[in-house]
C-alpha cells in the first residue's frame, strides 16, 4: 500500500514537473507541424490565408471534429494511391465513401483504435498480469485522457480516488451507518463536489486544458467513481488502490497508443491489415496458457529455490 502510494506521488510529481517541458515539446511539435503546413500550403497557394491564421487552441483534440484534427487525416486519405476494391481494399474505399459523405475521419480512426486498445489491455492482463478494472474502464479512461489531456485526466481521477477513499474512511471512523445504496449515492455526491471544486479552482490554477473539459469525459470519470467505491466496499483499501494504480497505468499506455501519430496513420491507411492483426493477436492470446510476466515474479521463490 505504502509502495503504491509512493509510486502514485512520484508519478504525479513527475507529471507536474514534466509539464513545462511537455508543453514546450508540444509547442515545438505544433510549430513544426505549422511550418510543414506552411510549406505545403505555399506549394498549393490556394487557401494560404486560412491556414496561416489558425485559431489559437491549447491542444489538438482528436475526439473533437475541429478543422486542425480533420484536415490532416483527410489529406492522408487523399495522398494514398489505391488499387482495385477487391481483395485488399474494401474498407479503404468504404472509409473514403463515408468521409466524402462528411462522416468525420477522426471518429473512424478512434473507432478503429478501440479494438486495438482492448487487445492491448487484454495483453496486459494475459501476458503481463496487470488487472485493472476490467477492460471497459481503462479503455474509456484513455479516451477521457485524450479528450481532457493526461494531466487534467489524472488529476480528476486522483480527486475521485481520494474523495471516495476519504469518504469511506470518515464514514467508518465516525460510525455513521448508512445502508449500501444511500451510502453509494452519498459518496457520488462528494465525488461530484470534488470535481466541481477542481473546475471552480480553474481561475487559480490557470491550466489551459481545463478549458475544454466537456461533460462526457467527466461523466465517464464519475461512473468510474462508482466502480471504484464498489470495489472498495467489497475489498480492502489496498486492493482498491492497487487496482486504481494498475488502471491508471493501463489507460496511460492506451492513451499513448491512441495519440501516436504513426498508429493513427497506419489504422487509417491500412485498416484491413490492422483489423486482421488485432484479430490474430486476440486469438493467439486466448490460447496462451503459459505463466504471465508478473507470475514469474510472484513465484520467484518457487523457481529459484532449487
Amino acid at each position: 500500500m505504502r509502495k503504491t502510494g509512493v509510486v502514485l506521488v512520484t508519478l504525479l510529481a513527475f507529471l507536474f514537473l514534466a509539464k513545462p517541458c511537455l508543453a514546450q515539446f508540444i509547442d515545438n511539435a505544433s510549430e513544426n507541424n505549422q511550418s510543414l503546413a506552411v510549406e505545403k500550403v505555399e506549394e498549393a497557394t490556394v487557401s494560404a490565408e486560412i491556414v496561416l491564421t489558425p485559431t489559437p487552441s491549447p491542444r489538438p483534440d482528436i475526439t473533437e471534429k475541429t478543422l486542425e484534427v480533420v484536415e490532416p487525416l483527410k489529406r492522408l486519405l487523399d495522398e494514398q494511391v489505391l488499387g482495385t476494391v477487391w481483395p485488399f481494399n474494401p474498407i479503404k474505399y468504404a472509409i473514403r465513401g463515408a468521409v466524402d459523405a462528411s462522416v468525420p475521419p477522426n471518429t473512424i480512426v478512434l473507432l478503429l483504435l478501440l479494438p486495438g486498445i482492448a487487445a492491448l489491455i487484454a495483453a496486459a492482463r494475459h501476458l503481463v498480469g496487470i488487472r485493472g478494472f476490467g477492460i471497459f474502464l481503462p479503455a474509456a479512461l484513455s479516451v477521457v485522457f485524450v479528450a481532457t489531456g493526461p494531466i487534467v485526466g489524472i488529476g480528476l481521477f486522483l480527486v475521485i480516488v481520494i474523495v471516495s477513499t476519504g469518504a469511506r474512511i470518515v464514514l467508518r471512523r465516525t460510525k455513521i451507518k448508512f445502508q449500501y445504496l444511500p451510502r453509494m449515492s452519498f459518496i457520488l455526491l462528494l465525488v461530484v463536489l470534488g470535481i466541481l471544486s477542481v473546475l471552480f479552482a480553474a481561475p487559480l490554477i490557470k491550466q489551459s486544458s481545463l478549458a475544454n473539459v466537456s461533460i462526457f469525459p467527466v461523466l465517464i470519470l464519475v461512473l468510474l467513481a462508482e466502480d471504484f467505491s464498489r470495489v472498495q466496499v467489497g475489498k480492502s483499501a489496498k486492493v482498491a488502490v492497487n487496482l486504481a494504480t494498475e488502471t491508471l497505468i493501463l489507460s496511460l499506455v492506451s492513451y499513448i497508443f491512441l495519440t501516436l501519430e504513426s498508429v493513427q496513420k497506419f489504422v487509417l491507411l491500412q485498416p484491413e491489415m490492422y483489423i486482421l492483426l488485432v484479430a490474430a493477436t486476440d486469438l493467439l492470446m486466448g490460447k496462451y496458457v503459459g505463466l504471465r510476466l508478473m507470475e514469474l515474479w510472484r513465484f520467484r521463490k518457487l523457481i529459484s529455490s532449487g
Binding site: Q179, Y180, L181, G290, L291, E295, F299, I303, G306
Partner: protein, 433 residues
Amino acid sequence: MARTSDILGLNARSQLYSYRYNKPPGKKKAASKLATKRALMAYNIPIPQTYVKFVKPLKINKFDWTSLPSSFALKPNKGLGGEGIIVVKKRSKSEDGWITTNRRKVTIEDLKLHVLDILEGAFSIRNVPDVAYIEEFVGRHKAFRKYAFRGTPDIRVIVFNKVPVIAMMRLPTKQSGGRANLHQGAIAVGIDIATGITTKAFWRGKYIKYKPETKRKLNGIKIPKWTKILETAVNCSIATELDYLGADIVLHPEKGPMVLELNHQPGLSIQLANAAGLRKRLARVEDLRVKDAEHGVKIAKVLFAGRFADRVKAEEGIKILKPVERVKIYAPGKKTIVINARIDTGALRSSIDRGLAKELGLLKEDNILWKRRYAYRSAHGRQPRPVIVLIFRLAGRKIKTSASVANRSKLATPLLIGRNDLDGFLVNPVESE
C-alpha cells in the same frame, strides 16, 4: 526446485482445468455457500449447522435475535475472500451483545445493519442482492491452539479427478485479524499429502520457520484426522461434480472435519506454501480412473509424498549405492523378504516382477493404484502394466512408492528401482556387483 513449466498460472488454471472440468451446475453450487451445504448434506458430508438464513429484510425484525447461542458466525452467502463475515465467540458481560473473535463488541443492532448490508449485496460479486445466514461456530482444534492467533485455521485441499493433489493450512495471525485469509495476512503452511505433516510456511512474500514473534516451529505439525480430511475433500468433488476444486475444511474439536466452502477456481499461492508446482501434479493424475475417495487418497499419498530428502541428507549424509543393492520388501500380512534390486537411473518409476508381486500378495485389488494407464516404453517395447503400492527399505531408508508390474522372470533382479525413489542417493557404477 520447480521449473516454470511445472507451475500453474492463472491462464492455465482457467483454460486447462477450471473451465474444462467444471460444469455450470457445479459452479453454481460452489458460488453459493447455502447451495454447497445442500449438495454436501445430500452426500452426508459434515458441514456446520445453519441456525437461520435471511432472504428478505422483513425477516430481520421477525427473527428472535436473543435466541442465538453465545457463539456463531454471520456470513454472506456469496461473499468473496472472507469479507463480510462476523464471528462471535461469547456473550458480552453486559448481556446485550457478543464479543467477536477480534475482541470487538457487537450488539443486535449492529448485526441487523450488517445483515441489511449483506442483503443489499455489499459483499457479493458485482453487488447483486445476496442472502445472509448464521451458522454454528467451529472452534479451534487443540492441535492448532499454539499456532493460530484467535481464529480457526482452515485446511485447503485441491482435488482434481478425485485425487487430492496439494494441500495447505491457513493460520490466522495478529496481522490478519484472526482470519484465515492469505490476502489479509494469514500464514500459508504447506502439508505433505502422505503424512499430513506440515513442511514449509510462507508469509508475506517469504518462507518463515517460526510463528511470527515466537519460537514455535511451523514445520512438523501433525494434522489430526488427515486421511479423513482428504477423503472429505474428494467427496465434495464427487457431490458437486466439480472435477477441479478447492475445498476449505476446518477441524471441529469434537465432530472432526467439516466443509466450510468450495471454490471452483482455487488460488495459486498454495504452490508457494508447498514449494511445489501444481501443473505437473495435475498432469500426473489427469486421466487416471479413480473409483472413489479412498482410492483417490491412496493414489495421492503414493504419488505426492514428500521425500524429505533434504532433511535426510542433512541428518545422515548422502548414501552411496551400488548398481545392485539388497532391498527389504514389506508385504501386508506377510514376512518381509530380502532380494536383489537393480538401481536404474535410466528408469523413472520402479518396477517389480509379476511373479514376485503375486507371491507377496501385492496384486490384490486394494493394492493396485491403476491399471493399463500407460503403454510403457521400455526395453521390452510398449506394454500395459498395473501400477501398485510398494514399500521397501533401501540402504536404511524406508520408502513408500508406486511401482509398475512387469515380467522380469528372465532378468537377474526381480526389482528395479527408478529415479522417482533415488532422491538423496548417489550411485557408484564401478563398485562390484
